[in-house]
Symmetry: C2
Subunit: 379 residues, 2 copies
């Protein structure tokens, strides 16, 4: 990433750049291969083949069948389709179980269902930002139709015990969805290992373009479409397929599949070095989230005695996020951190540093320098 300012980009959890090899895969579909996959002539068949190849690539990364992948316009739409579509498909059961740390793309559809008379239970988290399984056990007593808990938190990176949650939920026959927008491409993930029924993929969090995503839907899981139109995506998601971006998502999944383990170790090493240096340079700095069960690229820290917005203004050499960057920044404490028991005043000093494929050792060294100086000036 570069701009006229050329700050060091440490906001990969907000969005990732499109990888050059992903863009290369897309370009023919933004140039001469411009058919509509529904057309029966060669232009259409060429576009259809590209969409179906991409479906295979996404499925391969997740460990599922191609026909279990529905392409959408992104993580928000996938989450809405999973939650509202599951609710619409269920006549018998009405309750939903979710967590207190979900992204608005999950929490808002749940609130919508609540306003429409469904019962929504929200599981709390411990001080490391991990959902409390014992609360989940109590919450599923109602026999909910759906349990939806994110795979990894966008702010802290804490990885949730989805496999254990699935075991709890399946005892009561619930469908289980996880918003994996932040984990796909960052950590190994297999839908059968997790035992999940529905899983959200967001293209722009894994080096595919913005405006494309996928929903994994396990065979025989009931789902009612929430938008209506022609019969695209097996009748579950209408609209002419976003061919170029779908091809990009497929290519990004292949890159992730082939290099995820090596790359995540590289990024983890850099991230841990960043933390060690900040910890050495800033007395009283604290880590938010789980020390080990955490996305390898994510470092959420509390800078003592300073507001994060002031700190980041004083550190223009880096581009990072104060709180969750997926929606408009506000000077209020992060609800995720508050739910973990972080002091409301201290929480205002939280900064999320998220690394990625473009991050170098030099970036880390420069970021530490910038942040330490900014903190000394700003506190």
């Amino acid at each position: 990433m570069s701009s006229s300012f050329n700050p060091i980009y440490l906001d990969y959890n907000a969005t990732t750049p499109v990888l050059p090899e992903v863009l290369d895969a897309m370009l023919p579909y933004l140039r001469e291969r411009s058919g509509n996959p529904s057309s029966l002539h060669p232009f259409g068949r060429e576009a259809r083949a590209a969409v179906e190849k991409a479906r295979e690539e996404v499925a391969y990364l997740l460990g599922c069948l191609p026909e279990e992948i529905i392409f959408t316009s992104g993580g928000t739409e996938s989450n809405n389709l999973a939650i509202l579509g599951s609710a619409a498909a269920s006549q018998q059961r009405s309750a939903v179980v979710t967590s207190v740390i979900e992204h608005p793309a999950v929490s808002r559809p749940c609130e919508f269902l609540e306003r429409r008379g469904r019962k929504v239970a929200r599981i709390g988290v411990d001080e490391l930002g991990v959902v409390r399984l014992e609360e989940a056990r109590r919450a599923v007593d109602d026999g909910p139709l759906l349990v939806t808990v994110m795979h990894a938190n966008n702010e802290t990176g804490s990885i949730q015990p989805i496999k254990e949650l699935v075991a709890v939920a399946k005892e009561r026959g619930a469908v289980v969805h996880t918003d994996a927008a932040q984990s796909v491409g960052k950590i190994p993930l297999n839908v059968d290992d997790l035992g999940i029924d529905l899983l959200t993929v967001a293209g722009h969090k894994l080096y595919a373009p913005k405006g494309v995503g996928a929903l994994y839907l396990r065979r025989r899981t009931p789902l009612t479409p929430v938008t209506m139109g022609a019969g695209h995506e097996r009748g579950l998601r209408p609209g002419t397929e976003n061919v170029a971006s779908i091809v990009g998502l497929g290519a990004a999944c292949t890159v992730a599949r082939l290099s995820l383990r090596v790359e995540s170790e590289r990024v983890r090493t850099l991230r841990d070095r960043l933390w060690a240096s900040l910890n050495a340079g800033i007395p009283g700095i604290r880590l938010n989230g789980h020390p080990t069960q955490r996305l390898p690229n994510t470092l959420n820290v509390l800078f003592p005695g300073v507001r994060s917005s002031v700190l980041l203004d004083a550190a223009p050499a880096i581009a990072a996020s104060a709180g969750s960057a997926c929606h408009e920044g506000e000077e209020t404490a992060s609800p995720v951190l508050l739910s973990m028991g972080v002091d409301p005043v201290e929480a205002l000093g939280a900064v999320r540093l998220s690394l990625g494929r473009g991050t170098t050792e030099r970036d880390v060294t420069a970021a530490v320098e910038a942040l330490v100086i900014a903190w000394e000036n700003a506190r």
Copy 2:
């Protein structure tokens, strides 16, 4: 357009290629300008500025204010948001008036509302494929909440009397939506001239990429979002903005604004030449749709004594559509043509030839030759 077959592309109503100048505008946002518009650092501000510039470009083409434009994932989503969002926003009124020739992206949401207990009235069309205003006058007697009639039909190109429909609907206080997926960029269009409250734009029908669209929403028109999430697009359409494609849509609207009149006359001349030559070469061929109040690029014809699928198979030199190409091709007669009173057997010989910016005089000559020979062999 080109492929290994290199057929002549005459299916611009199914989808258009991305114009080179549109792709050029997009590329920086698929490369170095990769920020999330919600981020507060320079990468985010750069992306936000690009989205807002594109919003101005779309607004300029439609003759509205930038804040009246909501970006979506395409025409289908815009139609769903307009129809379901208007219905959700209205407590008092429940009826919907639509036409019998709508695209599934309009007719299916209307059917959904019907299943949920709303009254849906469908206006018929005359033999030229134009809605009957006297039926509209009767249909609005109920005081419907919403009238939704397309601006130009995707199959025949017949342009609907939206201005007159608006006058009829406004007498009864209805909100009026038009699906302008096929007309934006093909004919001059101004939302105030039409008097419309909601208007659907589909990027890939006007040389922007697939997977992006817009909904024009007149100020103070009530609308409830149908997907829930963070507060993007003034709370009406959540999800990280598809920056590159939105930039592409803006660029395509600028191209349309600057060259629409000249280009539409060029295409109209070619289209009329195509029709004259086919009419001279194929005894009994008939034109579907309005002779003059019709999209300048669209030619829907009935080939006598032959099924269109057989005819098109016999003419591999051209890529055109038998019936509407936006959804899976079927060997059943087009409901649009049937609603115009076309004989069900004759309707099976319908072919839609839709021209565009890439169409040349040579293409027209070659297409005529290919179609006449194919018809002679296939009938």
